[in-house]
Each structure stands twice: as C-alpha cells, then as structure tokens.
Amino acid sequence: MIKNIGRYMILMLETFRKPDKGSVFRKQLMREFKDLGIDSLGIVAIISVFMGAVVAIQTAYNIDSPLIPLSMVGFTTRQSIVLEFSPTIISLILAGKVGSRIASEIGTMRITEQIDALRIMGVNPANYLLLPKITAAMIINPVLIIISIVIGLFGGWLACVITGMVTPTDYIVGLRGWFEAFTIYYALIKTVVFAFIITSVSGYMGYYTKGGSLDVGTSSTKAVVYSSILIILFNLILTQMLLS
C-alpha cells in the first residue's frame, strides 16, 4: 500500500513537468479531448436521460401528501441530478469506460516496449503519455457533466409529460425554484477531482503493468475498481468539506 502510494507520487512528479514540446502536447491534448470527451458523449447522454426520468418518477411516486406541492418533483430532480447523480454516477461510469481504456492502452505500451522506446529516445514517457490525458479529462469532464445535468433535467421533464404524474408547468416551477448557484460549483469541483482520480489512477495501473496480455486485463480491472473506490471516498470528503 505505502509502496504503491510512493510509486504513484513519483509518477505524478514525473508527469507534472513542462512538456518536451508544446506543439506535440497540444496535438496530444486535442486527441484526448476526442477520445476521452467526445467519444463519451453518447453513453453520458443515454444514462442521463434515463437517470433524470427515473428520479422524477420516483419522487412523484413518493409524494402522497396534498400538502407537498407537485413542483417539488422538479426541485428534487434538479437537486439530485446536480448534487449527486451527474457528477458522481457519471464519473463512476467514466471510470469504467475511460479508466479501463487508459490502463489497457498504457499497459499494452508497457509490455510491448513502446514506453521503453520513448525513454530511450529521451522522452519522459509519464509526461508524454499521462499529462495530456489528465489535463484533457480535467477540462472536458466538467463539460460532460454540464451536458449530463441538462439532459438529465430534460429526462425528468419527458417522464412528467409521458406519465402525466406531474404537469410540465409544475415540474419547471420546481426546477427554477430555490436555486443556489453554489450547487453547480460543488458539482464541477467534484467532477474535476474525480477526473484527476480516474486518469491518474488508471495511468498508474497501466504504467506499472508487468507481464503479458493477461496482466494488461488485470491492470485494467484494478484501474476501474480503485478509481471507483477513490471516487466514492472523495465524494464523501468533498461533500463534508463543501456542504457542511
């Protein structure tokens, strides 16, 4: 455990250095925006729309007192989506999709000597491979989460329209009521931290892969498991720090 933390710290120190060449870094960054961000849009959209719809239906189902206005469905859906579902659940989904991709890509590069080739050329492999991924994820994931929030809220509205449990007007009144901008900042802060966890932990797992293709699979699985556990742990820590 302590050895792993130490190696992770050393890897991060190697990663966060000035890139060898700015133009190459920018090109890599653009590639990562596409691979980590744009390519994840589909799954983020699908999960968000259903997530929003389910939250709206469940909330409506649980309101059986005439004293509670139906606009609470919109309010509760918004709060749930913004505070927890979009930043945390989508980050957990991305830990599976993006984390396994990063670990297997870098792990394969390790076992096929591509990382050794970089080192021999005089390139800092950690900086060259990980810095663009970490930077791209920390920039693009908040954008994905904003999109997820919008689609999630739309999903809730759609559920209201289709089921008729709540009128769209009530839902929108709830969405707009008692809004605090800080909840959005809270969601974005969490997302940036989670993006760093997903990319750096997965990069670490891939970078220190030893053996063959079976070990690449093991690294990939570990990347997803450890990223997910850390996301849940940091979710609690950040919530305590920012909301209490």
Binding site: M109, A117, I120, G122
Partner: protein, 247 residues
Amino acid sequence: MIQAVNISKSFGESEILNDVSLTFEKGKTNLIIGESGSGKTVLMKCLVGLYDVNKGSVEYDSRNISKMSFKEKRKIRKELGMLFQSGALFDSFNVEENVMFPLSMFTKKTYEEKLERVNFCLNRVNLENVNNLLPSELSGGMTKRVAIARAISLNPKYLFCDEPNSGLDPKTADVIDELISEITQEFKITTIINTHDMNSVLNIGDNIAFLYKGKLWWQGNKTEILKTDNNELNDFVFATELTKRLK
C-alpha cells in the same frame, strides 16, 4: 565507441551480470551472444541506461552515463537509436508518424523537411509507399525495417538492436542483418546487436562477445568463433544440426 567497465547488475539476490568489461567499436557491428538467461538483454538495458548498474560504469566516447543526471542522460539518448525485439512501433501512429516522431520531438524542422527525412529513411530500409499503413498492417520484416528507419531518423551515433531477427524467416533475417551492417558502415555508427542467431554471427559479426552465466566468457570475430576451443562457446555455437555439419 562505447565501453562497459567492470559492470555488475543484480536483481535482489540474483546476480545477472558479474564484472563485465567490453569495448564496442565505431563503424563495426558488435554482437553480444549467449544462451537465453545469460544476461544479454540486461547488459543491453544497462548500456542504454534503462537499468542502473550496481558496480562499474558505461561510457559513451569517454562520457560516463552511470553518473549522469536525467537531463544529461537525455542528451546522450538523442544520439542513440534502438531497434527492439518487437519493433516497439507506436500502435496509434502510422508508419510516417512513427518515423517522424523523434524529428517532431527534438528538431525544429518544418513538416516538409521532416517528411523528406522520413522518406529518405524509409527508402534507405527499402520501403516505399507504406507511409499511411498502421503497424498492425505490417509484416514482421516490414515492422523491423520501419523500426530501423525510426532509429536512424535522427542520425544516431549509436545503434542498439535487441534480437533483430527474432520471428523472421531466414531470408528476411538476412536482409535485416545486411541492412544493419550497411547502415553501420555507411553512417559510421557504433552498433551493438543482441542475438543468438548463428546466421547473424557468421554473417555480420565484426566483434563478438559471448556471455555465459552473467560473465564475459569469450571475445573474437566471425572467423575466430569457428576455431575456438572454448567448450561453453562450442556448445552454444554448434548446438544445432546445421552448425554441427558445418563444423
């Protein structure tokens, strides 16, 4: 010229190299041979600085890399090219991008200048019209040739080849051997080849070093290797039916 001076390397309790001293001359193909597990790959990784030696030093034209910082090592690394056993081409890049990679990282050339150099290197290894192919679309021999082209793209002073013929048919292996030998003489490079292919030894072995159980056991050239009375070397050289008949 590269010199290994009394180098030793251990992993935990296991000693892989024991007091190995070798000189690799410029403009010649220097071969390191030995059985599997004799320490050839570890020696090569010590020479290129991927492993730090426990004792001794590695000197590139009297520059001791064993005592250098990461930054100082980087300067030397720009002067060396390496052909890995698997080729180690970058999967996500096509052939042109692979060969262009060192030029993009370490030169300020324009795209046209880099492309000109890439095409020169690819022509030099007898490859044409492969610029847009991905590594997965190349044969074993082509992969090795692209890796050689990438290794020579920055005009290296030192070229390291780890098992350049592994996985290749004898004819293609010969082509790769000839290519490495020609490039060595043409560009006056110090070339070090790690191999257990006797065909390469007899074909291009200007200087040959035989490692046995982590020690330097014998040194000579391709003519002398056939006449030696060193028992361990003879067991290695004449291990196959073909070489026994040759003897």
